[in-house]
Chain length 151, copies 2
């Protein structure tokens, strides 16, 4: 079985509440390569509803896109650089919410890199549920210098 | 003591994981008016770290801005319309991350409405910690039609 991108991070970078394998309280979001894209599948529990029971709160949609975006950037760099590879942090995140996202069914987040420039990786992101596009956006992720441990 | 904006939402709109008073598992983010702005103060526990222990994960920053943004829009409309007032949901959210945000200290999120047009309210948002700007962004929130209960 293929190892998730986040599970390939060095231990010092694996503490994220959203996607860190070493965060015992976290969501453990997992991302994988899928051809030229990346994909993350996650089934948000009912408790993560927005204002109405049964529909996901915006913060979870942003969390999924953010952690998946950082993984997408890391995977793009991992194709060109030797491991271990420093983590990416978010420089910017933009989301357009297109339709309510249900809870308790699997959502699919996809990333597609649009530009790699030095330590920066730009990408487009989508989130869909049951085949319906619910949110789309873009992100710029920046790789921390390998001698720096904050971000 | 002043009542939080989210605690003035009708019960049917109070289930959000981020800010709903009726979500037992949620974060219970609270927003208040502060002159022409709105303010939300929240101390994120250490477990909400990003890749490195001690710094907040991006998803929490987005969650705070998202829930506070919806409250900012609601409060702006509440000045011109009688209660009960339908909830706002997010149309778009854009965040630029300026500096790492520490965990375990109080962060302050501020909103300032820039435009009200029909059911849409646009705003600027900032997030700071210890007086230092850590993230800034903007959002467009849209009020759901009062006869519709999804979003």
């Amino acid at each position: 079985m293929e190892k998730a991108i986040q599970d390939q991070y060095a231990d010092e970078f694996a503490h994220c509440y959203g996607c860190g394998s070493l965060n015992d309280d976290g969501l453990h979001i997992k991302s994988y390569m899928d051809g030229d894209e990346t994909v993350c599948r996650f089934t948000p529990a009912h408790k993560y509803s927005g204002g109405f029971p049964g529909f996901l709160y915006g913060g979870m949609i942003a969390s999924l896109m953010d952690c998946h975006g950082a993984a997408t950037a890391w995977a793009a760099k991992a194709r060109t650089q030797q491991l271990p590879l420093a983590r990416f942090v978010t420089a910017s995140l933009k989301i357009d919410f297109r339709a309510p996202t249900p809870t308790n069914i699997e959502v699919e987040v996809r990333g597609k890199v649009t530009e790699i420039k030095g330590r920066k990786v730009a990408m487009d992101l989508t989130l869909s549920a049951g085949g319906k596009l619910c949110a789309e956006g873009s992100a710029v992720m920046v790789q921390i210098p390998s001698n720096k441990q904050e971000g």
